[in-house]
Each structure stands twice: as C-alpha cells, then as structure tokens.
C-alpha cells in the first residue's frame, strides 16, 4: 500500500523533470495577457486542463485561444447540466475546471468536489463588478436577494468551504465569468408591436392562448410563471426563488388550469427548440435566452427581448478549480482562470450578448462601436457581427433593454434551486402529465 501510494508522486516528478529537460533547448515564449506572472513555461507545456460546462460557456474557440496564449492545453467539454453535476460528484477527476452555473453550487456545497479560491489568487477581483464583490450595483444600491443572489453564492464562510457566507470573505466559491438578465422574447410582428408587451403578466394574457411557451425545466419555468402571477396580482411570494410547498401548490394549480385550457403551445428543452418555436411563429411570447433571440433575428425574423417593468430574471456563472488539482496543475488552473477574465473571452462572449465580470478588460477586445452597442446600449454605429463574423444587427439598431446597468441593474429574482426542489420536481411532473 505504501509503495503504490508513493509511486505516482515519484513518477510525476520524474516525468516532469524529463520533459522539462527535453524542452530545455527550445525557448517557449509564453506571454501573460493581463500582465500577471506566468508559471514557468517549460513545465506547463505538458499540462492539459479539462474545462467542462454548458455549451453557452464552454466554447471551443475560447479554449483554443487560451491554449495559444498560455502555452498549456485547455480542452473544452460542453455538457448538459445533469451530466456536469453527476461527473462533478461521482467522477470529479474527469474535470479540472468546473464552469458552474450558480444554481449548481448548492449541490456541490460541502461535497469536496470543487476547491475554494483564495481571493489573493485572483488578480482581477478589485476590477470585478460590485455585483459580485459587494452584492451591489455600481450606483451603490443593493441588488435583489430573491433567488440565489451573487452575494449569497460568491463566498465561503471559511477555507473548509462547507458553508456559504452570504457576505464578502477571503474564499471565493468561484470566479464569476459571465452573467445576464433574462426576460420574455416576443414576435413584435405577431403581437402588434414592441410596446404591446410590457409586463410579465402578458405571458398569461388569454389573447395569446395557444401561442406561449415555457422552458421545460421546473426551477426556471415555475419562476417565470411566478413573476407573471405576482404582476397579475394573484398573490405575492415571500421569495419567488425559494417557494414554500404551499406557494408551489398554488402556482402549479394555476399552471395546470392554464395548460388544460390550451394556453401553452409548447415547452422547450433545448436552445434550438426555443429558436424554432419563435422563428416558425408557433409561439409569439415565451421565456427565452438572449442568444436565442439573436438567433431568431439572424434569420431575418423580428424578435425582441422585451424589457418588462417588474424587472429581469438574473443568472451568472463562474469557474472553480476541482479539489483534486494540486501542484503545477493547480497553478495552471489559477493562471487559466485569471486569463479567462483578462479580456479575450469577455470580448468574444459580449458579441453573444453576455456580460463579462470584468468589463474593463473585455472593452480592450471590442471595437468602440461594439462596446457602445453591447454595453452602453447606444445605437449601433456600424453593422454588428457575432463572434463568428455573421451579421447580427444592422447599423442603427439598439440593444433591447439598453445599457448594462439598465438591464443588470433591474433584477427581480435570480435563478436558483429551491429548498423544496424535491417537491417541485414532483409537482412539475404532475403539471406536464396533466
């Protein structure tokens, strides 16, 4: 036993030594992008890090660029949420960098799968938007704490990483990367104009009977309906992001009645389905993601992500190193996570409508016109293209909802996982089968 447990260590150092020697002749010029110190390049060139996350975040081009900039290899794996959780918990060694959606944190908390990040290891913390560092908007107002708000999700109580602190500490749960404000997508041509939908309650308006859709995912689907019910005045929730059994029952009951009355045309479970529902005109108002709206628009069909008076449903994701990383690999992981928010990624993802946690760095990788359009909500001075160069918006158009803090500064509720999620799943199954 002693032998076998000590062997891998010896092997590791011997291998690294050999490879370091082999690479000795070649001068590997790796430059840190953000000016932070790089790990000794000769050693790192044999390191491979597996970055796993949702397809909207674990994008191959980003991994390729990181590989080029950093000198070690980043492998991007786009996987579905349940697979990601499963692998994180049952085969943690198959992932190195976990690209976690905040709602997955409660599942991972205290499981020892992901490692806490000492604030000092993350160079860009002071430049990160205050939403994550203090739970406040740049103007100083505190953000909504319904659902799992950034301030609640960002910090561990201590280095044991067993509990969330809910206030700033020295240990981060993850490095925040991208975030956005979700709302309803509409077909202005089929609802009578952009200004015809102004509130979440319009989702339940009988006039759109048979032409609405929800996402087929209980925590978000129920929350969108809750936003609508609250604005329609049916009842007020103590916390839409953490409903009681009674609140779930009341909400599901109304949903079942609506469904039986044929109010919903469909429930979508993939990005493409939501795009097709909207593009084909099967649905004229539905809960939707921002890039899906853009995807509909890029087909030449008018689709609008409508700002609603009650506010948006917010979400954010981040990166966390897996707990099994150590030594050189862990150093590389920190370096990669620092690289991630150093600009290239932020610029890339901005063109898909997402915001970077460190906007100042993303700005360097956007043209002034792009920055004005995506972040400042100004009319596009030139044609706006997506990260792959396809035309997205014609010159003169304005981003729906306006500037970053007009959108992100108006979050009514954050994506979450409820304490009663077990009960919610059961009731959701009942809803779908009724």
């Amino acid at each position: 036993m002693t032998r076998s447990s000590s062997e891998p260590k010896n092997k590791f150092s011997r291998r690294t030594l050999l490879k370091g020697a082999a690479a000795g002749g070649a001068v590997v010029a790796t430059q840190g992008v953000g000016g932070f110190p790089t790990v000794w390049a000769q050693n790192t060139k044999d390191v491979t890090l597996v970055h796993a996350g949702g397809s909207y975040a674990a994008i191959k081009e980003i991994g390729d660029q990181a590989t080029k900039d950093l000198g070690f290899k980043i492998v991007m794996q786009a996987i579905t949420d349940d697979v990601q959780l499963n692998r994180s918990l049952t085969q943690p060694q198959t992932i190195d960098i976990n690209n976690i959606d905040s709602t997955k944190l409660p599942y991972l908390l205290g499981k020892g799968a992901i490692a806490p990040i000492p604030v000092a290891k993350y160079k860009l913390w002071s430049e990160t938007v205050p939403l994550f560092t203090k739970g406040a908007y740049p103007n100083g107002t505190m953000a909504s704490t319904q659902g799992l708000a950034p301030i609640e999700a960002m910090f561990y109580a201590d280095k044991d990483a067993k509990k969330l602190a809910g206030k700033p500490t020295e240990f981060l749960t993850m490095i925040p990367t991208i975030y956005n404000a979700d709302t309803l997508g509409i077909r202005p041509d089929l609802v009578g104009g952009r200004d015809k939908i102004t509130s979440w309650k319009d989702l339940l308006d009988p006039k759109f009977k048979g032409k609405t859709a929800l996402v087929d995912y209980a925590p978000v689907g129920v929350m969108d309906v809750a936003m609508a019910l609250e604005s329609r005045g049916d009842f007020k929730y103590a916390d839409k992001g953490n409903m009681t059994k009674d609140e779930i029952d009341k909400t599901i009951k109304i949903m079942i009645d609506l469904k039986k009355g044929g109010h919903f045309r469909s429930f979508w479970s993939t990005f493409d389905q939501s795009v097709n529902l909207m593009a084909s005109g099967e649905v004229v108002v539905q809960s939707m993601w921002s890039p899906a709206v853009t995807a509909v628009r890029s087909r030449g069909i008018d689709c609008y992500y409508v700002p609603l008076k009650e506010g948006y449903r917010g979400w954010f994701v981040g990166l966390a190193p897996m707990a099994h990383l150590s030594g050189l690999k862990l150093d590389c992981a920190y370096e990669y996570m620092n690289w991630f928010n150093s600009g290239w990624q932020g610029g890339f993802i901005a063109k898909q409508g997402y915001y970077s946690a460190v906007p100042a760095t993303a700005k360097k990788f956007l043209t002034p016109e792009e920055w004005d359009y995506w972040y400042d909500g100004k009319p596009a001075a030139v044609d706006i293209k997506d990260p792959y160069g396809t035309l997205m918006e014609k010159k003169g158009s304005t981003r729906d909802g306006g500037a970053i803090w007009d959108r992100m500064g108006n979050i009514a509720c954050w994506n979450t996982v409820m304490d009663e999620d077990r009960y919610l799943t059961r009731r959701w199954n009942e809803f779908v089968s009724s």
């Binding site: 991972l108 087929d216 779908v432 089968s433």
Partner: protein
C-alpha cells in the same frame, strides 16, 4: 438510447419465458452454445437491473443516495395519481400505435408477399421499405415539425386548396403528432417480422383453400392470419416495448405537453433524484415484462418458429 433499450428488454424477457428444455444427449453442448449470451445478459442486463433494484430502496438527499432499505419511493409512486396518469398515457399511446402499425404492417407485408410477383422485385420493394432507416430516428421525427406546424407545409396546402380557412392547431405539439411520429418510426418493426412469417407460408395452402371454395377474405382470415401469428407477436413486442420505453418522441412531438412514464423518470434523474427514478424503472420493467409475457402467452413464438 431510450428507443433501443426496450427492445433489448424484450429479448431478455422472451428468453426467460422459454419453457424448460427437454433433456437430450447434446445438452452440455447447448449450454456451451448459450453461455456467451448468458454472460452478456447477466453482465449488461442482469447486473445493472440488480443495481437499479437496490437503489430503488435507497434514501436520498439533494446530492447523495443513501444506502437504506425503505419503501418510501414505492409508496410515493403508488400513492401519486401522476403515476396512474402517466401509465394511462403511455398505455394509450402503445395501444393506438400498436393497432395502427398492425393494420399497416399486415397489409404491407401481405402486399409484398402475395401480390408482388418475382423474388427480385419483392426484395427490392422490401429494401425500399427500409430506406428511411438510413437516416437517424431523430431526423425522421423532427422533419414532421415544419410539416405539421401552424405555418407548416400541410396547413398551407390545406388553406391553399381552400379546405380550411385557418391553420389546424392540433396537428403539431399534440397527441396526434406523437402518434404520427411513432407510427412513422415503428411501422417497419411490424412489417419485417410479419413479412418473414408470411414469406414462409406455403402458397399451395392458399390455392387449396381457394379450391375448397374459400373467398379472398376467408383465406386471409383463416389461413394467412393464423400462420402469420409469430410475426405479429414479434412485431407487437417490438412496437409495444418501444412505445412504452420512449420519452424523446413524446417530449419533442407533444412540445412537452404530454408525458410518458420514462419522460417523468428523466425529470427525476435530471434533478438527481435517483432512488424514486429507480423505483419507477423497476415498476416499468415489471409491467412491460408482463405485457410481453402476455403476448407470448397468446402466441408461442418458439414453437411456431421451430415448426
């Protein structure tokens, strides 16, 4: 995945339902012959099933399954009226699809075997039936969506021809759409075994029946139908297990408006609630096995194949 598995289950089930082998000298050799299959089935079907069975009695929290021996998962399952609704829905789909594919399958096979002259032509047409299988299940199913949609080809054609004045909404994201897709996907599973049994019917039997004064329908009812029973039984097993085990078709074609037993189970798995999902799977296996056993009771496939 979900579409293939039930078929495997069906094979396993039909295997178990076999009557006891009669003793004869080559018995040891036949045990050896069957050994590879037994090993494969035990490893890849028996063992996983045992794990599922064990987990179905476990307790669970948000992220963990906790070894225990509790009946809560089953109690929840049997107490919930959702279970009943889900099975009613799955059985309804299975019954309708079975009836439609049987009528289609029997007629197509009958046409191929008794009306098409010449073996080459027969095989050619038969292969033609399998052409759709060169594309994936998913593509064949999804192509119905633009066809049946509100502004789809079919609705446009109906309106263009002046048959309807506004789009028919029930065509897509409805039970109708689910059944269309099932029938499209699964009819061949009915055609092939029935074709196979019919092709082995001695043509002189039909002539004899006709000579004895039987009309066309009587020949079909009293000669062709009974002699095709094996094929019908096998086809029925395929279709019924495929429909019962499906979640993807029902979810996509109903736009998430209808559920099946397996789609509900999938929701539980997605929420990391394995023990209730396992309990649901165990009950599902029992019910489908009973259904297959029922079919095999009506038709002794083994005997008729050997005969």
């Amino acid at each position: 995945m979900a579409i293939v598995n039930p078929a495997a289950d069906a094979f396993a089930a039909s295997d178990r339902a076999e009557p006891e082998a009669v003793e004869y000298p080559g018995e040891r050799a036949s045990w050896l012959q069957v050994a590879p299959l037994v090993v494969v089935l035990l490893l890849f079907f028996g063992l996983p099933m045992l794990v599922v069975l064990a987990v179905s009695f476990f307790d669970f929290s948000r992220t963990e399954i906790i070894p225990a021996f509790i009946f809560d998962n089953y109690i929840d399952l049997f107490r919930s009226e959702v279970t009943l609704r889900l099975y009613a829905s799955s059985l309804k789909f299975a019954a309708i699809v079975w009836a439609v594919t049987l009528v289609l399958g029997f007629n197509i096979a009958y046409f191929l075997v008794f009306h098409v002259r010449g073996l080459l032509f027969q095989i050619g047409l038969f292969l033609l039936c399998t052409v759709p299988f060169l594309t994936s299940n998913i593509i064949r199913m999804i192509s119905w969506i633009p066809f049946l949609g509100r502004n789809g080809i079919f609705n446009q054609a109906l309106q263009g021809a002046g048959i309807t004045s506004q789009p028919l909404e029930f065509l897509l994201f409805s039970d109708f759409a689910v059944i269309v897709a099932y029938v499209h996907l699964f009819t061949l599973f009915m055609v092939v075994p029935i074709f196979n049994s019919m092709a082995r019917i001695d043509k002189s039997l039909l002539e004899a029946a006709r000579d004895a004064g039987a009309g066309r329908f009587r020949v079909v009812a009293e000669v062709v139908w009974p002699l095709s029973r094996t094929g019908i039984a096998l086809g029925s097993i395929f279709v019924v297990t495929l429909v019962m085990g499906d979640s993807f078709v029902v979810r996509t074609m109903s736009g998430g408006q209808s559920a099946s037993v397996v789609s509900a189970l999938q929701n539980e798995v997605a929420a990391l609630q394995y023990p209730p999902a396992a309990a649901s799977a165990v009950i599902m296996v029992i019910i489908v096995t009973l259904m297959v056993a029922g079919i095999l009771r009506v038709v002794d496939v083994r005997k008729e194949l050997a005969g």
